[in-house]
């Protein structure tokens, strides 16, 4: 099973004496055979962890080990970074191994989030490998008494024209490359690529279909204890009484009950006994208090009525004319959405010899280490956190919380591994949801030209990020201890609230007013954060303006754009659907966004069919097309897979999903109450990738979310003439 050891001698800084490496090349033009130069600055992850051996190690057997601070969450980062490293080092792909996020082992890259795995981690590996290549050439040149330019890299060795060769391991003599990576730095010419830009299959998918041990849920340690957590029926509920003797009698397999305030852990040798104990506890524990939830009026109204902290997040030109001369006004709403991981959160922890070890599917092992150290009041050096893949998370789900649960319980049974498995209800009811949002839109069109002259976007939302980030109080368990740690209210505008609220279109006057409110439910980062709601509102409103002024939806968008890459994805997706035929009550809808206004460009067209009103007006998504430009593409099939998944997932959010609550608690506590798409609802999807090999790679994993929602709402409008502005687009909203 996995183990951990202190960094070995192989990582000692033997080569420091050679000094810092900067090899400059004069480059002529950017022709296909010229070496591509590194970008103007190094990725942030590399600036934070500048040494080559933070990112790659040469193994004695000639293989190369790549270290990434990111975790595999289904995005295929393991394969992408292996491709990058193998490419720059001219190694066979199968001789590159990848180590994922682990404290004390891999670089600290904070969170695997924001579609940044390629932009940050993979690009850091690229530059580190390019620097390693140069250093290996210099070392070999000294050995062979020649110049680096006369040497080549092949299969993990440096070759001279004489036929002599030395493997990387021989050149380093058991040491590692400890130089800092600095610019300028020649990169391998893209025209010579063997791996990057190709759809290299992910090798972990075969491991998955063979049911090899892969997930944190698969970890098994000798003597491991199984645990479940008993949570209150309501937020902030307090434990009044729990007769643990009666529990022991009813479930004799219970090993121990850990009660700290209102945090209750149930431990058993056998997992089934832990489950039975949880079932028993849910029926017999008594709770008091609990926060009352505002179930007495529509959530949109409630959000608007809350005290708000306000900030003008975009202010360009003067929009005062809208007060008297708006062409159109409309309000939109997006409810709370669930991450809905198929595998509920799980973690294993061991407290041994003053050190806490945690195996987790958290998106941030280093921040979690610091949070857990503070929670347990121990030194962070005594906390070791190893990332192990879990079920896909799509943002901040219960992963960090369950790790805290496991840590607290491991302290109660030192020397034994404790595996905490959340139940389905735990995950559905306690995960931090994607925030509900409300939008008021207004715009003015020039009556002569049909161009938008003024644009206003006003939004109400809670934060979109409450990641622990090194603090303990955002971990769920911390809030329920006898000495609770409670998050302080914060007016945090950095949490993605207004992401993509500023239009990418070229409007002369734009104002965005952001109202930060504290909504009733626990929330945090869900794939694309505020961009999903903001793009939904923005792109629906664009469509409404196009319709109102009788303009073609594609042309209307194109004439307000100046960025040719943005126009290209819209034109491409238009081409993809040009020959589509529509039956009665079928419709096509388009939408566009550039994620974060700086990452991938994505245009989406959805085709829907709506059943007749007398048959309930159910919406069937027939097909979704997308054109995406993510700059240089490392793995086209990986990008396609992420985009296809984004289209289908966002379609499910848009048509089906809404977290519901009554005055006491969240009521959508299992799949039957929170129905995500099943196989009969899933549309066909078609994704066109516009590869731009000479551009920087752009984060893409979240790009489809917002455009999909608006494309669907727009398609529904064109199919039946009903404009649904409140998600989800349930059939009852389409009845007269």
């Amino acid at each position: 099973m996995s183990h951990h050891s202190a960094p070995t001698a192989s990582r000692r800084d033997f080569l420091k004496g050679v000094g810092c490496l900067t090899v400059g090349f004069v480059m002529f033009g950017a022709g296909p055979l010229a070496a591509a130069s590194a970008g103007p600055e190094l990725p942030g992850s590399l600036q934070d962890n500048p040494r080559i051996n933070a990112w790659l190690e040469v193994l004695a057997d000639g293989r190369v080990r790549v270290l990434t601070g990111k975790i595999e969450i289904g995005q295929g980062i393991r394969t992408a970074v292996a491709q990058i490293a193998a490419e720059e080092l001219d190694m066979p792909l199968e001789r590159v191994e990848v180590v994922l996020a682990e404290t004390g082992r891999t670089p600290d890259e904070r969170y695997t989030a924001g579609s940044a795995s390629i932009e940050q981690s993979a690009m850091s590996v690229r530059y580190a490998a390019a620097a390693a290549r140069q250093k290996l050439l210099i070392l070999a040149a000294a050995q062979f008494r020649t110049t680096p330019g006369r040497l080549t890299l092949r299969d993990g060795a440096v070759h001279a024209s004489s036929g002599r060769q030395l493997s990387f391991a021989q050149l380093l003599g058991g040491q590692q490359l400890t130089d800092e990576v600095r610019l300028p730095l020649p990169l391998k010419p893209k025209a010579n690529y063997r791996y990057v830009g190709r759809s290299i299959p992910r090798d972990d998918i075969e491991r998955m279909v063979r049911a090899e041990s892969y997930y944190v849920q698969d970890l098994r340690f000798p003597g491991m204890v199984h645990a479940r957590i008993l949570r209150p029926p309501s937020y902030e509920g307090r434990l009044a009484s729990f007769d643990t003797k009666a529990l022991q009698k009813a479930v004799p397999g219970v090993l121990q009950v850990v009660i700290d305030g209102s945090f209750v852990g149930l431990l058993a040798e056998r997992e089934y006994d832990a489950k039975l104990a949880q079932d028993y506890g849910r029926l017999h524990a008594r709770w008091s208090g609990g926060r009352k939830l505002p179930a007495d009026k529509p959530l949109a109204e409630h959000l608007r009525s809350l005290p708000a902290v306000e900030k003008r997040t975009t202010d360009k030109g003067n929009v005062d004319a809208l007060a008297t001369d708006a062409t159109l006004r409309a309000s939109y709403f997006k409810p709370y959405l669930m991450h809905g991981s198929i595998g509920p959160s799980c973690a294993v922890a061991l407290f041994a010899k003053d050190t806490l070890h945690v195996w987790t599917h958290s998106q941030g092992v280093y921040p979690l280490r610091d949070s857990l150290a503070k929670l347990l009041k121990i030194n962070p050096d005594n906390v070791h956190v190893k990332g192990v893949p879990g079920s896909g998370c799509y943002g901040h789900n219960g992963a960090d919380d369950v790790a805290a649960d496991a840590a607290l319980l491991a302290r109660a049974v030192p020397g034994r591994h404790v595996r905490v498995q959340w139940s389905r209800e735990d995950e559905h009811a306690w995960e931090p949801y994607g925030s509900a949002m409300l939008f008021d839109m207004a715009a003015r069109l020039d009556p002569k030209t049909g161009q938008i002259t003024h644009w206003q976007h006003e939004l109400w939302s809670d934060t979109h990020s409450t990641r622990p980030a090194g603090s303990p109080e955002k971990l769920l368990a911390a809030q329920y201890l006898a000495e609770p740690l409670l998050p302080k209210p914060e007016d945090d505008f950095s949490g993605g609230i207004y992401r993509n609220s500023e239009p990418y279109y070229d409007f002369p006057a734009v104002r965005v007013d952001t109202h930060y409110v504290q909504g009733p439910l626990r929330v945090s980062a869900l794939r694309s954060l505020g961009a999903f709601g903001n793009v939904f509102a923005l792109e629906c409103f664009m469509e409404e303006l196009a319709v109102k002024s009788g303009q073609d939806p594609y042309e209307f968008r194109l004439r307000h754009l100046t960025d040719e890459r943005a126009k290209a994805v819209i034109r491409k997706v238009r081409d993809m659907v040009r020959t589509e035929k529509l039956a009665p009550r079928e419709g096509l809808g388009v939408a566009f966004a550039r994620y974060k206004n700086k990452a991938a460009y994505c245009a989406v067209v959805a085709k829907v069919a709506i059943a007749p009103e007398e048959d309930g007006a159910t919406v069937r998504v027939r097909k979704i097309w997308s054109a995406i430009d993510a700059g240089e593409v490392i793995n086209p099939d990986g990008l396609r897979n992420q985009t296809e998944g984004g289209l289908i997932q966002a379609a499910s959010w848009t048509l089906n999903e809404e977290v519901l609550f009554n005055a006491q608690q969240v009521t959508t506590r299992q799949w039957e109450q929170y129905p995500i798409f099943r196989f009969d609802e899933v549309p066909l999807v078609e994704v066109a990738v516009l590869d731009r090999p000479t551009e920087l790679p752009l984060g893409a994993g979240e790009a489809a979310q917002g455009p999909t929602a608006a494309a669907l709402a727009n398609a529904v409008f064109h199919a039946c003439g009903k404009r649904v502005r409140q998600l989800p687009i349930r059939p009852e909203k389409l009845l007269a």
Binding site: R210, H226, E271
Partner: protein, 155 residues
Amino acid sequence: MDANLTLLVNGKQHTLRLDPATPLLYVLRNDLALNGPKFGCGLQQCGACMVLLDDVAWPSCQLPVHQVTGGVAITTLEGLAAPDGTLHPVQAAFVQEQAAQCGYCLNGMVISAVSLLRQYPKPDEAAIRNGLFRVLCRCSVQARAIKAVQRAAGV
């Protein structure tokens, strides 16, 4: 309360001392250390825990283990590949189509597809959607999964 129970899993007999009410999923994962069937909901709603009972895909999370003694052939994902390691055509097709992201639901999809193809070797798209209906996938690779089943069936 514990009793000796004999199970036939992936072609091998196992006699285990267990609470007969224990759901099969817990026995497969914890007593037999199998990774194929996954815990997803414990409510028979998501299909992560699918196993084959003889030829029928069935969720194992609520199925008391005593109901599958007496020679019911229980097959998990581990039991699909040939003894020499060659993948079952359905497994191979999911790899070829790269029909996974996090892969947590793969078990349910593959087991359901194997069951479907044993009963209907040449399903059309609607039959495939129906055959995999019980399996939820949040990464949303269903479109690829449909292609994978078509590939395995040669349709």
